[in-house]
């Protein structure tokens, strides 16, 4: 008795194989697409009178990698002068742990003619996501010999410390902004010196009394900025 073997047509086998291969490719692409990393850093940004100057800027590709930009000196504006500016960002997408970390370093920093000065400004941002969750931090950020309004700051500056700058506006030191859900996404932006420039318009006094003026934001200065983010 002859054995009968049921074989599918060759074209059908090839079709099934191709279909499976396509499905695996799509699944792999989808898994990679679900996680991305982000990172950026810059030394200084001056935005006044509609003119924006930002340098040096490092940007991380969403698939990860490394970017580094540096500058020996920055004195293109009277708003900020600095030496040895380095902006760095690295990161990688991974099934186990995806991570991103960025930093910005500047030396001999002077903002608004010395209203704020520091020997070193360091901004640091780090983010990671794993099956256990996602988190970000600004550990390592700090100042060396920071002086604000002529007053030396001898202790570490707490996150989001606001300092008034009479006649100029105000500054937020060690400004930290978190984002993400802490489960599958997380991010942080650190701006070590963020000056908001303001002018007073309107207002004044007559014999009938005084009317308050309105503070209008006219520009901003950011020195030492680092950003990192992970997740979909």
């Amino acid at each position: 008795m002859a054995a009968i073997t049921l074989r599918p047509p060759r074209w059908l086998s090839r079709g099934v194989a191709l279909g499976l291969a396509s499905a695996f490719t799509l699944l792999a692409a989808r898994a990679n697409a679900q996680t991305s990393v982000g990172g950026s850093a810059f030394g200084a940004l001056v935005n006044t009178a509609g003119m924006v100057q930002q340098t040096p800027v490092a940007m991380l590709p969403t698939s990860g990698g490394m970017d580094e930009q540096s500058l020996d000196a920055f004195s293109g504006s009277t708003a900020v002068s600095s030496e040895w500016l380095t902006a760095l960002t690295t990161g990688a997408v991974d099934d186990a742990v995806s991570s991103s970390q960025s930093s910005s370093d500047l030396q001999q920093v002077s903002v608004l003619g010395g209203l704020i000065s520091a020997d070193i400004v360091t901004a640091m941002a780090a983010s990671y996501v794993s099956p256990a969750g996602a988190a970000s931090d600004a550990a390592g950020s700090g100042f060396t010999n920071l002086v604000v309004n002529g007053v030396p700051m001898t202790t570490d500056v707490a996150p989001n410390t606001r300092v008034d700058l009479p006649g100029v506006g105000y500054a937020v030191l060690n400004e930290q902004t978190l984002s993400g859900d802490g489960v599958t996404t997380s991010g942080i932006t650190v701006n070590m010196i963020h000056v908001v420039l303001q002018t007073l318009t309107g207002g004044g006094c007559t014999i009938l009394g005084c009317l308050p003026g309105t503070l209008t934001t006219t520009g901003e200065i950011i020195v030492g900025s680092a950003n990192s983010s992970v997740g979909s």
């Binding site: 990698g65 490394m66 580094e68 990161g91 930093s103 988190a135 390592g140 920071l146 700051m153 500056v157």
Partner: protein, 213 residues
């Protein structure tokens, strides 16, 4: 009498061994722990590493010791910041690729400098504390002194970059050597040697898979 003395010593030795093992495997490495013998063994790697961050206090770190202390006081310049990506060119190859930027902020150390290095070797070593795989990579570099602006051709070796878990701060550790010629594996000819636990940032181990392996 002699027999009784031995009986008293044995529980004491057992307790000491338990304490030693507990210290060695703790999340934050203890300073007094002697390196494991296998820490010095080098083998080809099948993983890559990325990282960036900061380490502080070179005074406590010279010679490769890693200080568990935190970030410096606001008046200190004694720290370095860095970023890198490094990998073997293929699984189990000891040639490598990648880049590193290392910024020394202390003006007391060669006037402060920024180093840009290109990775040409990458191997695996074991963490001195946990036994986890760490990256060791090296290559030629250019260092620019900040006091004179002079550019110098040197060689670097990241003696180890170890990912000990998340977050990186207080756990991950790195040691950087700079040499005028190719660095001896243990840095005997190093003119710069800074090591420490991260006080900022993160080091990340990534297994090589698929086409990247």
């Amino acid at each position: 009498m002699m027999q009784r003395k031995h009986l008293i010593l044995v529980p004491g030795l057992l307790a000491a061994a338990v304490v030693a093992v507990a210290c060695r495997d703790s999340a934050t490495p203890a300073r007094s722990v002697a390196p494991r013998p296998e820490f010095w063994a080098v083998s080809a790697a099948c993983f890559r590493m990325t990282g960036g961050g900061r380490i502080d206090k070179p005074g406590a770190n010279m010679g490769g010791a890693e200080s568990p202390t935190g970030k410096n006081t606001p008046g200190s310049r004694d720290f370095a910041t860095f970023g890198f990506q490094a990998r073997p060119t293929a699984c189990n190859s000891t040639s490598g690729s990648g880049h590193i930027t290392w910024v020394e902020h202390s003006t007391a150390i060669f006037g402060g400098f920024v180093l840009h290095g290109d990775v040409d070797t990458f191997v695996k070593v074991a963490s001195e504390y946990s036994g986890k795989p760490c990256g060791r990579f090296s290559g030629p570099a250019r260092a620019k002194r900040r006091d004179t602006g002079e550019m110098v051709s040197v060689f670097f070796e990241v003696h180890h970059a170890c990912d000990e878990g998340e977050p990186g701060v207080g756990h991950d550790h790195i040691r950087m050597l700079i040499c005028l010629t190719t660095c001896d594996p243990e840095g005997g000819n190093a003119v710069y040697d800074r090591a420490g636990l991260l006080t900022g940032g993160n080091l990340q181990y990534h297994r090589l898979t698929g086409r990247g392996a």
